[in-house]
Every structure is written in C-alpha cells, then in structure tokens.
C-alpha cells in the first residue's frame, strides 16, 4: 500500500504529538490512531504482520480508502493474493466503493500474480517490471501533477519564444542570458512538481 505524502508535513502539527519524535500519518481508523499516537509513521514503510484472517489486508485497504476520502491523499493498492474485483466485492458491504474511487483517480489497484509453475529462469533478470507497474499505478492517481508540468512547459516555451523575439529585436545577448536563466528556474519548478504526489496538488 502506498498513500500520498504531504509535501509540507510541518503544516500539520496535530498529527505529531509532543515527545513522539516521529511524524505520523493518521489512518482515519479512530481506535488505531489513538493507540498509535496518531497513526502510521509518515513517509516510511510500515510492515503489518499477523496470522491468517486477522485483518492485515483490511487494515491496509481501510488505510488507503480513508486516506483517499478523509485526507485527500490518493493511494495505490497492490495485492498478491486477492484479485482487484474480489477485494472490491469484499469491502462493498463496509461502505467502501472502490470502483468509484478508481474512477475518481483517488485509488489505483493492481493484482500481481506469481505462478511459479508457469515461469522458467534463464540468465540474468531484475524486478524492473514490478517497478514499472508501481510507477504506472502512481501516475494514474496524480494526473494533475502532469497537467501542472505541461502548464509549466507551455510557460517555458512561451518564454523561449519571447527570448527569440527579444534577441531579434535588440540583439542584446545579456538579456538573452537572463531569460535563459529564468527559463531554467521554471524548468526546475516543473521538476519539483513531478516529484510530488500530494493529494491537495492533484485535486486542482
């Protein structure tokens, strides 16, 4: 499971009670947030362990669903046992409409099936395919980050054109350098926007 990371955790002080030291990410599950002093550690991997049927999957799924609904943090849910439509059916009676969340780009789901008997090994390989799938799922829930980049790229293009006009008009090389520096600053802004998966950003 993976949920949007807020870009400015300092702005949300209440989720980090004094003395705990670790910034917390509220799960939205009231009892759990109480006994964990505010939720799961923010921005870190969390491993949930337990026997069969104790609710690991449900905890993970509820964390993702409440994140999407209550905290405007879209999430990705990757399962290795249940298929996406099975999960969707299983939690419908709890009032979680996963299809709707997927449609609203608040949730992306992927079912990764590993059937050992179907796979042979020969030579060197890596798990890049899994990362491709993860990236693709993350991109599905933050399309507006790309829209922001597209807007910034349009700005850069406009500035480039302005630069060319300026050069044609004045032949002044100093101002060309100045504008190029500005264009570079804008492209840096675009880069930092692409690294974000803040729910609030992707809403706009």
């Amino acid at each position: 499971m993976l949920r949007g990371v807020r870009s400015m955790p300092a702005a949300k002080k209440p989720s980090n009670p004094p003395g705990s030291g670790i910034a917390k990410c509220p799960t939205g599950i009231v009892g759990l947030d109480q006994i964990t002093n505010g939720g799961l550690p923010r921005g870190r991997p969390a491993l949930i362990c337990g026997g069969a049927g104790c609710g690991k999957t449900l905890l993970a799924l509820e964390f993702i669903v409440r994140g999407a609904i209550q905290f405007d943090e879209p999430g990705v849910f990757v399962s290795f046992e249940e298929m996406s439509d099975e999960l969707t059916d299983n939690v419908r009676s709890l009032g979680f409409d996963l299809d709707d969340l997927v449609k609203r780009k608040k949730l992306a789901m992927d079912y990764v099936r590993v059937e050992r008997s179907e796979i042979e090994e020969s030579g060197d390989y890596d798990l890049e395919g899994l990362f491709v799938r993860l990236n693709y799922a993350i991109d599905l829930i933050k399309p507006s980050a790309w829209a922001q980049i597209a807007a910034l790229q349009a700005q850069i293009l406009a500035q480039d054109q302005a630069t060319e006009h300026l050069i044609a008009d004045t032949q002044a090389n100093e101002s060309r350098g100045q504008l190029e520096r500005r264009a570079m600053a804008v492209s840096r802004k675009a880069d930092s926007a692409s690294g974000r998966s803040n729910g609030k950003e992707s809403r706009k």
Binding site: M83, D85, E86, D110, V112, R113, V114, E115, E118, I119, E120, E121, S122, G123, D124, Y125, D126, L127, E128, G129, L130, V132, R133, N135, Y136
Partner: protein, 97 residues
C-alpha cells in the same frame, strides 16, 4: 474467480498469428539485459524455428500499461503465447545449456 482477460488474449493471439510460434519479449528500454535477451532469442529461433516464429517486442518504458496483461514482474520476460499452453521465461536467455 473470473479470469476473462487471459482467455481473451489467448483467443486473440490464436486468431492473429499465422505462425506456429508466437513469442513476446518484454523489456524496459535498451539495456544490456534487453539487448542480450533479444540477440539470444533471435539466435535460438533462427537455429530451431526458422520460418515458423514471430517475435513481438514490448518496451514497458513506452507502454507500461501492457505489463498487467501478461503479469510481468521480472525483466526481461519472454512469453510463449503459441503454441499453448502459455509459458514464461525470465532472464536474458543466456543460460541455454
């Protein structure tokens, strides 16, 4: 337990292909591993299946949405779609011994 997509994919592959062997190689970009895998595959096919095979290369950097259909995890992955049953080989196919 509905598994509609693999069946549909299978049927489509059978309908499209005029070769006995329909092979699909999944890679991510032009890495050393992906180039090696293709060269090895080409060599093995020419040696044993000349004129009876077709190879389709899918670059997941360009088409990441296709990783889901054949349940790709490791790269490179070779999927034998025909003849059935579907088989997968992961790795750059350098271990032919």
């Amino acid at each position: 337990m509905t598994k509609k997509s693999p069946a549909r994919v299978k049927a489509a592959a059978a309908a499209e292909s005029s070769y006995a062997w329909n092979l699909r190689l999944y890679v991510a970009g032009r890495t050393l591993k992906s180039v090696t895998a293709f060269e090895n595959l080409k060599r093995i096919c020419e040696e044993h299946l000349r004129g009876q095979y077709e190879i389709e290369i899918i670059d997941l950097i360009e088409q990441p949405q296709l990783a889901k259909g054949d349940q790709i995890l490791a790269l490179p992955t070779l999927v034998r779609r025909l003849p059935e049953p579907i088989r997968k080989i992961i790795g750059d196919l350098s271990n032919t011994g």
